[in-house]
């Protein structure tokens, strides 16, 4: 597989570690040295490159998943409460 074309830089960090750090790496939340190691590893490892791409895809797809749009069970009661409380506090502010 990918590791047969292994380069020395790849072994600074294992695939298992890269996989573990993938989300933090994608969000830019890894320290510089770790970032360098991962980036170097990714240039030589197809397996990890695929893995990180898939995690990025999941992150982006989850944001776009159609959700069932929920509505409050009693919107009328909420609106009434809002109107009542705001009326009172606006009155207080005026006094």
């Amino acid at each position: 597989m990918a590791q047969e074309e292994g380069q020395p830089t790849i072994s600074e960090i294992t695939c298992q570690e890269v996989a573990q750090w993938a989300s933090a790496y994608l969000d830019g939340h890894v320290e510089d040295e770790r970032k360098r190691q991962i980036t170097a590893h990714l240039t030589g490892c197809a397996g990890c490159e695929t893995y990180v791409k898939q995690i990025a895809m999941v992150r982006d797809v989850v944001a776009l998943l159609p959700n069932t749009v929920e509505e409050p069970s009693d919107p009328h009661r909420l609106r009434q409460a809002f109107a009542r409380v705001r009326r009172c506090s606006i009155k207080e502010e005026l006094q």
Partner: protein, 241 residues
């Protein structure tokens, strides 16, 4: 700040990112919108309140479901949350964002209810999650020899897959939703806040009272479970063809 951190996904994410992230960061936009919305709320504008509810109600329900026994209770928790928001608006001092504040109230109320109803919690919510557990199945890596820690079963590229294609398949959408719904609560909370709602990492930590390291451990475990659901779905597709 992280523009140079992701060369591997550049070609892929460029299109996605430009479609929903303008020059201003997402959190800047959200912050500006919130200031305007808060001013309207304080003037007692009913439309502004409806807007706030619309914006967060679905995610609040989804998160509450992870803490309490059933849907009905989740709806009560969120209804109570909105009532508390209404009562508290006058005192809200913007030490956190409006969203963080609202979600914080819900989490507090949901936990309270969850504790009282512990016996009835669905199974998935009771499974405790150890942050030190491996996110990715260790059996996919060589466990010994020269290639220890390297892929034994590397992921197969999702060659022609795009987010659009995945979203167009009802089966894929169901698989992903199912994976999210069955996440343990701690994982579901971070995934919904960070990836579904798009809340800043810092704000998520504040909301859930966890460290950034915890956040990424949990977020990654959650994403990995969804990734595996997609992987399984695609493998099923292949065997059909």
């Amino acid at each position: 700040m992280n523009a140079d951190a992701i060369p591997v996904t550049e070609s892929f994410s460029h299109r996605m990112v430009t479609s929903w992230k303008p020059e201003l960061t997402q959190s800047d936009v959200v912050a500006n919108e919130e200031i305007v919305l808060l001013a309207r709320l304080r003037q007692g504008e009913e439309g502004a309140f409806d807007e706030l509810v619309m914006r967060h109600h679905s995610a609040l329900i989804r998160m509450a479901m992870g803490h309490v026994a059933d849907r009905e209770v989740a709806e009560e928790v969120v209804q109570d949350t909105w009532l508390a928001v209404i009562e508290g608006l006058g005192r809200f001092e913007r030490r956190s964002s409006l969203r963080t504040w609202v979600f914080g109230i819900m989490i507090h109320k949901a936990k309270d209810r969850g504790v009282r109803e512990k016996r009835h919690l669905p199974f998935s919510s009771c499974v405790s999650v150890d942050d030190s557990d491996e996110a990715v199945d260790p059996s996919r890596f060589h466990q010994s020899g020269e290639w220890t820690g390297h892929w034994a079963l590397p992921p197969q590229p999702w060659d022609d897959q795009t987010p659009e294609k995945l979203l167009a398949s009802q089966q894929a959408v169901n698989a992903m939703n199912q994976a999210i719904e069955t996440l343990p609560r701690t994982l579901r909370d971070v995934l919904i806040l960070r990836d579904v709602e798009g809340v800043d990492a810092k704000e998520v930590c504040e909301n859930l009272k966890i460290t950034e390291t915890n956040l990424y451990v949990r977020l990654h475990r959650a994403r990995e479970r969804v990734r595996r659901a997609v992987e399984t779905y695609l493998e099923g597709q292949q065997s059909v063809v």
